[in-house]
Symmetry: D5
Subunit: 122 residues, 10 copies
């Protein structure tokens, strides 16, 4: 089940603000209604204040959703909340992009803090 | 015929605003002048206030246009109106993109509420 | 329902063999099990003996499947059989390509006569 | 020769503003200097006030340039003027994109009215 | 765990040979050495003798690998063997394509019977 | 109207056989049934015996179809015949590819002489 | 050597401002340090006041750099200056894009006048 | 090890501000935790005040990271700092894009000075 | 330096022949003439007799070329020879694809044993 | 002018036959009729007997065509002949691909020796 305790941090190498983006092409969870797997892509963007999420720990955190029954909208907001709590970033954005079901594919965008205009679109 | 009673809602999982996008690659209706089928793609974007449209019900609603004779412009405005009435979103955008006829392909964009600048273009 | 009487022929403009290919990007029928629409692409290739299928009549024939409940494999073999009966071609190939369902997309290939090696793959 | 009398209108299905885009992939006219054909693509975008251009009549209007000797810049401005006169749109944009000549390909953009920022770029 | 009893068959709609291809874009299993998930794409091609695999049952069979620790090569050969036993096809081909690990991505091809030259390459 | 007298030849620069391919992206003629323009792409391939077609004369020859009402199949066979008569090539292949009409796009292939296996597919 | 006297003008067909873009895919000059040829692409954009550059003369002007030893940055600024002097445009933008050298490819952007926000990025 | 003394400058050819972009497709360094090589792409953008970085010296500077164990975030900030010190640009932007590890690929953006809105996104 | 002792084998999971392909997108070595790094992509294909190369060991073997000065042609033949010695495959193919140098990019193909026709092209 | 004396050879690193391919994306010569530059891409493929062409010398040889007035067909056959004389390869293939002129782009293929079937198509 989703486990934010897997997330590990390291200190930002600089005091000047900069943008970090990690794109996970291999996310999977389970649809809570049908029990079928969902497959997606997760884009994380943020400006660190003092700490950054370590990449391997982020991967393990994402893998902890593998057998969880959870809706698209809930996944997106939960990841946003877990990462904000862990890193206290200046701003942060989580975008989930889901493979098609019945001819319809979806995208969910959740922000934290004052995401600058140029990133608003996702 | 187009049937908005097919639309079902679920409660938004969060109070903070976030963007939901559903792209239907498999829309078809009928041209009211020629009787030939039209094929298109429908992009729906919105920020929920309290309720979100359930994905399978959205698919069935789109399928209810299958044998309806209706113009591009009317389809777009009707879907916008039906979804606004059903969800009362903070803002909502419907974009329809139509396969070519006689070498011309078309796109229609209809908004509701205060669509932010970064989404205005469609 | 599928109606081969819609097919019209015209005389081939030459006696020397040549290949004709028509690709329909906008085919739709209905899944006989779920009642949901199926969307596909149909590639027709043939070498005429004396008659060729007229393009607009071919479109109307394809449109006659719109509300028919029929499996992928049956659509492909039926179209092959109807066109062979109507045109008596030197050889003919029908390939149907179907949009994904549950993450799986499909392709069916049905031949008539001695399809040359370079076209065998579809 | 270019004939704006071919353009026919229909009433907009709604009073709320919405954007209509028609992309013609198959435009051709003739270079007035060399007599060689020019090939291009025409993007039309507008927000209707009360009337919209009917699609088939638009196609015939574009076809009326087929044997006209006329420069890129003049085509673009003429189409803009003809459509503005016929529809009196809230705003309108015509973009012509021309296939290469001597290794150089061109694009011309002509606006009418207050084209919003998000469409300015073409 | 991989469960071939999930596979269901239906009768081929014709006696003349034809090719069926199902491409699963959403396969996942687990690496038996690291415990990390593997993601892949599976192409199945065959010519039925008398029975065809039903598409939804094929999806469930593929999903039964979700939490199985198994190597690329073993997955490919096991799927080939299970499907050959279930369908007794004229010929059959299974191709698995795996997302990159450490900068290396892989593809495995396993055949059964006399796969014609035009399909040999995968 | 199509005018093969526009075609001019030059002597092949070598006696050893080699392949020449000219692809015209900008062909247009007129549909004899509807009077609407058709747009296409023409691929010409041949091995010269002693003479090669001069490129500018080939362009003018193709332009002579601009206002001719003629079917796809007839265009293809006529170009093949005109070029074979003018050049007497070892072998020659004409492929026409046509933009979509009513969702269907077409391709016609006409050969002369013993086109080698690797080019047969077009 | 670069010769701005090759540039010829024609009168703008309208008084209302519009954007003209010419993209040259086939620019070449010589590196003044190594003597090796450089290959690039030049995008020119401007709003005319009263005169426009004639397309064939622009091509000849670009060809006059063929054997000139000149740096990327200097080419870009020189073309900008020559065209501004010749046309006195409302605004003008020259962008040069250069093929890779040693794994690094480059782009230079030089503006004149008040280039609107939507074009600033190039 | 990273060696900024390799960087050489030349005088800007003009006093008017213009944008220079160099994209290095072939960057490699080493992960300080695993010892495995990292592969990336580095985009450098800046407006010179008086001096520009010479392209070959930039390549050698990038090559000096080849066997350095260093994190993504540190590489990006170090390159930004070294180039700002060497050129004193009006503004400067360094974007690093890294090939995937464990299904996650990353991008880091570091700015110096007042990067205009149109470049902010990277 | 290139170290074939890094290669480890595992037993093939089946006796029936099947094809294995590993594509390394991140190969780098050094040009022995200029000392500059070369970047490439390596495609390995083989049919095992009894043993298969373990993927992580293959990655480490490729990494051992990182600081080796060696020509394209020699890299390709050396990898072919090392892998043939280690695995004794039924057949094996090594293809190296190299990023451009001075506008020229290269590909080298080296085979071992009787590579079937469908793979000959690489 | 074209200067085969620029070509330098090195000894093949192996006695077993293997394929070498060099693709030059940046070829330019001059049209002998109009004096305008031609731009193309040259693909060279061969199996060495004992000597291979050195890459930098090949680049200089190609550059020697820069200001030569010469037809497509003649360029292709001349390069083939020069390289065959210099290397005496087991077989060799030269393919030139030319940017469009007047909407027509061309490709010329010239072989030497017994080019295997899988390469015949170019």
């Amino acid at each position: 089940m989703p486990d934010p305790s897997l997330l590990e941090m390291f200190d930002s190498p600089t005091d000047s603000p900069f943008v970090i983006e990690h794109v996970n092409e291999e996310f999977t969870s389970v649809c809570p209604m049908t029990g079928h797997p969902d497959f997606g892509r997760i884009i994380l963007r943020y400006v660190p204040t003092s700490s950054c999420v370590e990449l391997k720990s982020l991967k393990l955190y994402y893998q902890s959703f593998r057998n969880e029954g959870i809706f698209y909208e809930a996944v997106t907001n939960l990841i946003r909340d877990d990462l904000v709590k862990a890193m206290k970033p200046a701003w942060l954005q989580v975008i989930t992009e889901w493979k098609g079901r019945g001819g319809i594919h979806s995208r969910i965008l959740a922000d934290h803090g004052d995401v600058p205009a140029e990133w608003k679109r996702g």
